[in-house]
Symmetry: C2
């Protein structure tokens, strides 16, 4: 068997020397990696900042996800948080904790995945830190520019608003369920597994939503019901999801091969599956920006999420990161 | 024995609800925690960014460091990276990975330590992320404002420059050595142990150095010799440390109680001990800003670090994060 070079053998400085060339700068990169800190452009005079962490065995398994996949996901979930404020991504930094026996190639692939996810959106990887540890941990912090607009908060929804969604729903959850069942190779399910391994967030639609006057918005990371509940609580309103199964028929169709293979309820994935990194927003007008599908209305009342005016038809509205068994995605 | 509430029992949302009130905002905090992302002021139109990670069992042990200590250190080492560019800190975000059995109070103390270290310098804790994991990992990203100045890089040193240092040297390494030897309570050594647990970085001196025209600067995080070597390589110069034992006699004196207790060489701590987070800078003039002590000169030649014109008198010039045994501080 060929020897696989590990990060402990290579050492920190040499590993960084191999990683740096994989990290293209963007137009917002004023000073990239290599000094004590990086410098990013912040032309708006404000900078939007979000941080998210992925932990091996909780958010991913190396048996299923390549370094590239993990880098991609870590970047996308952070980029989506910045876009959900209506900001254009400008750059990210990453802290990597790696066991000494991690193959060097896995770490380089992580850098490639981070770079590939951010580059098309103008977000370079401008800095980072490395440490040893028991399990792989990837902590990404992303930055964005508001281009003169007010940030779009969770708290701005008003009764009468139109609730809309852009992006995929339930595909990541379905893909993970397939992998957990050992059905990652099932016929017709490759897109769903890919949706878990390398979700594609429609970042541009979030910036369009901000330009179009979205009153509230967030990145759907923990499931439609749970994240709708966050807008409901922050805004003090009822989010009434109207016939989501009809509105999101295309999403439901995409889930059907996995539902058949697993004997599962695709509507449950649609309503509670997280990590697709689409956007849920409310608008004062029914004239929605491209990419958004109407999924309900905002009403007055004690904060709650309803489906067709009543309680949601599925149990489980997300998960808690410290009690893996409580949610829909036990890997957490 | 009283029951100690753990983060798994409390759950993520409730833990965040207890942490948020512990995080005071600063004048640069335009939007704090609670939405998808935070918003920080970046009045200069650029933002300085650095990220650093602390891993349990590598960078700290819970037996020695309280949550407050770890939060303090995580903040200080990041704040020092931003200050080393000549920037004024504005805010930080933190990703915390915690085993489910971590006491809630430890996590709250971490937040208090982060807040306490940043607040006097105008840096609020504006956001974060939580996850479960096997060991505690604290990844902090810090931001700063250049106030219209050019960033001070490692690459700007020029032959003839005066090399100077501000802050403590070797105290953190001595404090750690005392703890490792079970002598954390040794007479006269409390300041050194405190220097390891809660280092105080003279952040204001770094901003003063930038205002005074420092040509190169960095945060001394891995030891004077190793970090001087980074300036030497980046600038293509020789750093000749002139009689550092004399120049830094006050620092050497501070190390003597620990050197006596352990039978160790205090000069080795002075030259190779990391994590005090002082600043090493080069200046075109001998007229140094307050807090800086002259420690040598920059000369032409193949990049190298000399001590009194010759090779350094001690072995070990730092450590590698993946090969803990190779360096001066085996906990890494």
């Amino acid at each position: 068997m060929d020897h696989v070079e590990t990060v402990a053998e290579l050492g920190e400085d040499a590993l960084l020397a191999r990683i740096f060339p994989l990290l293209p700068s963007s137009s917002a990169t004023l000073l990239g990696p290599g000094d004590d800190a990086a410098v990013l452009a912040a032309p708006d005079g404000r900078v939007v900042v979000s941080t998210d962490v992925l932990v091996e065995g909780r958010h991913f398994r190396r048996a299923w996800s390549s370094g590239y996949d993990v880098g991609w996901r870590a970047a996308v979930q952070n980029l989506a948080d910045v876009a959900a404020m209506g900001a254009r991504p400008t750059g990210l930094v990453v802290a990597l904790v790696a066991p000494g026996d991690l193959p060097v190639e896995w770490a380089l692939d992580l850098a490639r995945g981070l770079a590939a996810a951010g580059a098309p959106h103008g977000a370079g990887v401008v800095g980072g830190d490395l440490s040893g540890g028991t399990e792989v941990v990837v902590a990404v912090t992303v930055h964005g520019d508001l281009e003169g607009r007010a940030p779009v908060l969770r708290s701005g929804a008003q009764p009468g608003d139109h609730v809309a969604h852009s992006g995929a729903l339930g595909r990541s959850a379905a893909g993970l369920a397939l992998l957990e069942a050992g059905l990652g190779e099932a016929v017709g399910c490759a897109d769903l597994v890919q949706g878990y391994l390398r979700p594609v967030s429609p970042l541009a639609t979030a910036v369009s939503a901000a330009r179009a006057g979205a009153r509230a918005m967030l990145d759907v990371s923990d499931g439609l019901l749970r994240d709708a509940g966050r807008i409901a609580r922050a805004s003090g309103v009822v989010i009434d999801l109207a016939a989501p199964a009809l509105a999101l028929a295309r999403e439901l169709d995409a889930l059907s091969p996995a539902a058949s293979a697993l004997g599962a309820d695709p509507l449950a994935w649609l309503l509670t599956g997280g990590e697709d990194h689409g956007f849920l927003a409310t608008f004062p007008s029914a004239d929605l920006p491209e990419g958004f599908v109407p999924v309900g209305r905002v009403r007055e009342g004690e904060p709650a999420v309803l489906v067709d005016g009543g309680p949601p038809p599925v149990a489980g509205t997300g998960w808690d990161h410290f009690t893996p068994g409580a949610g829909a995605q036990p890997l957490r």
